[in-house]
Amino acid sequence: MLRQRTSWITIIILIAALLIFAAATSRNLGTFGITVLSGLFQAMLLFLVASGLSIIFGLMDVLNFAQGGFFMIGAYVAYDVHHPGGLIDMTGAIPNADLRFFLSILAAIVIGALLGAFLERGLLRPLYARPIFQLVLTFGVSLVLVEAVRFIWSTTPYSWTALFSVREGYFTLFEQQFSTYRLFVIGIGFFLIVAIALLLQRTRIGIIIRAGVEDSGMVEALGINVRAVFTLVFTFGCAVAAFGGAIAAPFLGASIGMSSSFLLSAIAVVVLGGLGSYVGTAAGSILVGLAIAVMANYSAEFLNLPVLASMTPMLLLVLVLLLRPSGLFGERR
């Protein structure tokens, strides 16, 4: 309990430090607001990738290097369904852009879940006795996903052009315009953080998952089909990542670079929070998301070094691994 408390205090101090730094380096309240908002926006997307990564690792000791690939696939599928042309053209069947957006998210979730289930059932299951090969395999799958996207949708990044109601809205605060879509994503993100936490805490399957994270052999000994739980969790994790890609696409578009950048940022989140710890992942997402936004603002405004912003997740990851590889909420090994 004491360690938990120190972890919380550390997190609050770090977030406060980031906010103070952001306030000190912003020109006015407006830019400060934008930094914080885009930090939280980034944080929620990271959470959607990282939560699956963390639970999957905790439960089955597989670090899924393809998790970023699922995010990217989600973005491409959502883009394809929502826009005219492409593989599936729904503009004729469903002229209403809002409804079509809802449908495109659903399509992304379904495809993410199907691919995730296939990956666990078909490819990872034969390899549980050989952990190094699982690592190598998911690394290979992440590249296959990128190459498949390159093959289907070409290499040119897409930017979202077909607008719909939530995406178009703006509100003004401190004489600065903010997009409602960011708020929408942040809202969904917080909702999911709470929903997944409740799922893990209050439902039977959640209890089984948490017990499995502690000791999956023991859960199996109690007569529970752990393998089925593995498949379920893996599928769910991949679906959530694809969902993240789908709701990110209206803002970030769809590009191949998403795969590795979100994977590395999400790994940074998970390692910072402590591999396998749900609370750590949620807190880590907010920290890393804010840090990326603050660094982006700072390096663009003061250092004239925009490259620093894209290197932030890697720098954070390397720092955490060096200073405290067990993360904030992880057990010391």
């Binding site: 670090l63 490819l123 034969p126 390899l127 050989r130 952990p131 190094i132 090969f133 690592l135 190598v136 395999l137 690394f139 290979g140 799958v141 590249l143 296959v144 190459e147 498949a148 390159r150 093959f151 590795s260 590395l264 790994i267 940074a268 390692v271 925009p306 490259v307 894209s310 290197m311 890697m314 720098l315 990851l317 390397v318 691994l321 060096l322 590889p325 090994r333």
Partner: protein, 363 residues
Amino acid sequence: MKERAIPWVFLLILVSLIAFPFIVALLTGSSPLGVARGDRMIMRGESVRWQAVLIEIFLLGILAMSYNLIFGFTGVISFGHALFFGMGGYTIGLLLEFTDLDTTSALIFGLIGGLALAALLGLIIGLVSLRLQGVYFAIFTLAVAEMFFIFFGRLQLTRAEDGFAITDLPVWLDPTQSRLTFYYIVLAVFVLTFVFIRRLVNSPTGAVFKAIRENEDRASAIGYNPLTYKLIAITIGGVFAALAGILQVILNKKVGPELLSVTYTVDPLLMTIIGGIGTFTGPVIGASGLHLLDTALREQIVTIGSTTIRVADSWSLLLGLIFIAVVLIFPQGIVGTWMRWRARRVRLSSPPKGAENPVQADH
């Protein structure tokens, strides 16, 4: 293992590789030197074309062997091998193009500097991160390599994403002028790498590498410090990867961030696994097999029904699928599977005397 001498098969292969440009030249009636036009040489004809293919194979072979030393023999999984390859290339490129040194000294300093930088990077990365276990080390190396990739992709000095061309090569080394010389240089480096890694792995140090791979706790319990030996493996592996990078830059006369991209981590990983992890010939067989397949298929166009697919467009996808299939179906790779099969035949034909481990031949 009584036999430690180089088997005659290797000597035979070496002799045929030395004679290779001339054999192709004889068979196709082309010159191994290319076609002379004025005082310049034009690289045209079957012999020089095949020399280029083999040079590529040797390069990839060196890279794969260096990766195998770390992954296959020591059991450390690194996802950042491209870092060493690319930094070797960047060092020699920067010295050739961005300093006032004359060409010869730039080449010498570039070679020494590139290798030294790789050794230094290997030492630093190893020192700070090897105490991390398996998956954390893989993450760490991936993050560091990605950082360098992004950095050099944006660095204006080295023309960011476009990279820069090497214009300042002496005629005797220039692969577009005297490819035959370069062929023999790369062949020599390739053979030296092979012999060196074979010697190293068969030495007492190499025995500790393998002990760490099999069971790290036991290796440290009998008094070896696994950290030290892993550090040796990753540093030496890094130096050879940098050597491959330097040769690659001279071959293509171009330096760019793609040298640091994840491709040069995946390729050696793939080649090692397909050829056979922890075997001497495996990475080389993987490298030659994949590169020959690549050259053969690149020009092909496949027609399925009404859709035509150019293989060149989907080569990486195909490669990834082959990779997954190999990991799933025969993770021992070509050489490993063959050695197992042979060991089983030997066991079946003559009953074993005692419980020795037959899967350990000199391949």
